[in-house]
């Protein structure tokens, strides 16, 4: 066949994509003004009303609650001014033009608020001694929500890279600067962190063991199980049904059910007992998390293979690829991003779910959290919860990024 130039359709589809892109941006144009102003209003109101900081002589007793303005004095008024500025900018110039200014102001507000809180805590501690606790009240969290909205409204999807990373980068840098200056060391959460540092390191390790271990186990069992379900429809119903039941079972009840089983196993089977398998401890928790994690992995593996372009599968079959070869060369490589999405859900879910270990002496970050609850120390609860959230977000973001990279490499459009 003679050569011919047929690049026109490709160029067409590129133009089409570009048009579709500009349409989505156009459609979102109205929303940021409202979101930005709402965020700024929340932030300003949070400073004026409600408990922003609570000062207590020690971890246990009640203390005094202060509004932001009461706690920060002159700096409080400056922060209020900054909030007003952000809101005003969002109102008069909702488009992308002022988004950089709004984002940077938001970063400044966050750093300033934390710094002022740290200073207030240091002043209080100077009078009350090392047992004193300065904690954030709910108004502080409202102002965090306000900041989130401001940042969201100032998001710049289509902008060049430097433009997109400037605001998050500045925020992180400002936070790091405030943290490393030592200004925060007298806040309750910093004091609890300092006290719990060794405990925290140990429990993060235990928590990671649960989350990563259960997910790994779910992948090792779930991917072959998913492939089997896709191949043999007869077993798909029973398998998915069983996993579904596991899924709706409350975690604690599930662990409770497992306890006698593992108790008997630990007592009856010498080597398992030596590994610490018992009615309480890591074993029942691990297995329960694994069962929960199986569901997204199996479901996505089935979906990944089933969602393949039928023409691709037909061509593979028609050219004489054996089922094994098809799996290795076509189905798994092409379905990999979807399988990965299932692994992501499993990992995030296990990271959050692993707190249940604390109920049965299995440790993990849940132990820190519940210890804080027993002590009525919200600061200590936060010391336990914050790493869970951070880990879950990090796993989610990391695997999402990987999905995108893999998808692009697989020629998915």
């Amino acid at each position: 066949m003679a050569s011919s130039s047929e690049s026109a359709p490709a160029a067409d589809s590129a133009a089409l994509r570009a048009r579709a892109g500009s349409r989505t941006r156009g459609g979102r144009r109205e929303a940021p003004a409202l979101i930005g102003v709402t965020g700024a209003a929340l932030g300003a109101l949070a400073l004026l009303l409600g408990p922003y900081l609570s000062l207590r002589p020690n971890r246990v007793v009640d203390g005094t609650a202060l509004t932001g303005l009461q706690a920060f004095g002159t700096v409080g008024w400056l922060l209020l001014l900054a909030w007003a500025l952000v809101g005003g900018l969002a109102l008069i110039s909702p488009a992308r033009r002022s988004s950089l200014a709004r984002g940077l102001l938001g970063a400044g507000i966050l750093a300033g608020t934390l710094w002022a809180s740290g200073v207030a805590a240091t002043e209080y501690a100077a009078g009350e001694g090392p047992m004193a606790r300065t904690s954030f009240g709910w108004s502080f969290y409202v102002s965090l929500l306000g900041l989130y909205l401001v940042h969201h409204a100032a998001a710049t999807d289509g902008a060049p890279l430097w433009r997109r990373v400037l605001v998050p980068g500045t925020t992180v840098a400002a936070l790091a600067a405030v943290a490393f200056s030592g200004a925060l060391s007298d806040l309750g959460i910093a004091r609890e962190l300092a006290l719990a540092r060794d405990l925290l390191a140990r429990e993060i390790t235990a928590h990671l063991f649960y989350a990563l271990g259960a997910t790994l186990g779910a992948v090792v069992i779930g991917v072959p199980l998913g492939i089997a379900c896709e191949r043999y429809r007869r077993i798909e119903g029973p398998v998915m049904g069983a996993l579904n039941i596991g899924q709706v079972f409350p975690a604690l009840a599930f662990v409770g059910l497992m306890m006698p089983v593992f108790g008997a196993l630990g007592r009856g089977v010498e080597p398992l007992g030596a590994l610490g398998v018992a009615g309480v401890g890591w074993a029942p928790v691990f297995v329960v998390l694994l069962v929960y994690a199986l569901y997204p992995v199996v479901r996505n593996t089935v979906a990944a293979i089933r969602a393949l372009d039928p023409a691709v599968v037909d061509a593979a079959v028609g050219m004489g690829m054996s089922p094994h070869r098809r799996l290795a060369e076509i189905e798994l490589p092409l379905g990999f991003p979807v399988v990965l999405a299932g692994v992501r859900v499993a990992l995030v879910q296990s990271t959050a779910g692993a707190v249940v270990a604390a109920f049965v002496g299995g440790g993990g970050l849940g132990a820190v959290m519940f210890f804080g609850l027993e002590q009525t120390s919200m600061d200590l609860v936060l010391v336990g919860v914050a790493p869970i959230v951070a880990l879950a977000l990090a796993f989610d973001t990391g695997i999402r990024w990987l999905e995108g990279r893999v998808g692009a490499a697989r020629g998915a459009v």
Binding site: A2, D314, A315, V413
Partner: protein
């Protein structure tokens, strides 16, 4: 050679193919034609055992297809489909090399074969490294044809391979494929519902309706002697025009050279293009130019109309 004997395929109560028998001779390009749902694709897919038949026998090069394991069988039968089904995560080279790899060819042999095939289907060697996502529809189908030909199978099954292309690309690929077929001499069974494509490409047309073969013969035979009213109906009023495009002006006996005012055409021109020229120019007669550049003779509208009736 492909041979089907009384092949039957049922789906529950309905019969998709109902006693189909046909023979595609070695090197022949037979077109399976018919309206959608007539069983032509089912028939095609029964040959490489993508569908298992309920009764009858299918032979490829004299061997019953049921005698070899399906995967083994398919590696020796080329297969190209309308939606192409290129593997999006593999380069064009790796796509084309699929069956040779399955057959365990040596690497250097595979590479040489890929280069050869790219040239054969009219793509530059640089296409080897591209991904299917970077190809246009026509280019992708060229790769699809190259992939079907990769291991040099004696038999080729094609299911509406050009059906998804725009008219200009389709025409180019049809013409190039016809040339390619003449050059390679493969035994081809080609499914389409496009009458024009069938008449243009087919050495033979097997017209199907409701799971049965209605008529089997050359396009000229079906045109001149339709076996049933359905044949005439299905091919429509332009059937004769389509047949004209199968023949060149030099296929007819030429009359004495006309005077100098007659429009001139080259000897390779199809009868259809010659007729079109006469209608467009309002001329009764055209002058046919021979390979030596001199007028070889003349052809009138009447010559075309009566002459084509006598072609085989």
């Amino acid at each position: 050679m492909i041979e089907l004997r009384d092949v039957v395929k049922r789906y529950g109560a309905s019969t998709a193919i109902d006693g189909v028998s046909l023979v595609v001779g070695r090197g022949e390009l037979a077109v399976l034609l018919g309206p959608s749902g007539c069983g032509k694709t089912t028939t095609l897919r029964a040959i490489n055992r993508m569908i298992e038949i309920d009764a009858g026998e299918i032979l490829v090069d004299g061997r019953p297809v049921s005698a070899s394991p399906p995967d083994e069988l398919r590696r020796h039968i080329g297969y190209a489909i309308q939606s192409v089904g290129l593997f999006p995560h593999m380069t064009v080279e790796r796509n084309i090399a699929t069956v040779p790899r399955l057959l365990g060819w040596e690497r250097s042999l595979v590479e040489a074969r890929v280069r050869e095939l790219l040239q054969l289907v009219g793509l530059a060697p640089s296409y080897a490294a591209k991904r299917p996502g970077e190809l246009s529809g026509g280019e992708a189908q060229r790769v699809g044809v190259a992939r079907a030909l990769a291991a040099d199978p004696p038999v080729l099954l094609m299911d509406e391979p050009f059906g998804a292309l725009d008219p200009i690309n389709r025409e180019n690929l049809q013409r190039e494929f016809a040339q390619l077929h003449r050059r390679l001499g493969k035994t081809v069974l080609f499914v389409t519902h496009d009458v024009e494509e069938a008449v243009l490409l087919g050495d033979r047309i097997v017209l199907m309706c409701e799971g049965r073969v209605v008529q089997d013969g050359t396009p000229e035979e079906l045109w001149r002697a339709p076996a049933a009213p359905f044949v005439k109906e299905f091919f429509g009023p332009e059937f004769g025009l389509h047949v004209l495009s199968r023949h060149r002006v030099t296929d007819l006996p030429l009359r004495e050279a006309p005077d100098g005012r007659a429009p001139r055409i080259e000897s390779g021109t199809t009868l259809r293009d010659a007729l079109a020229l006469m209608v467009t120019e309002g001329a009764e007669c055209v002058a046919v130019i021979g390979d030596d550049g001199a007028v070889a003779g003349g052809l009138t509208i009447e010559d075309v109309v009566t002459g084509v009736r006598r072609t085989r």
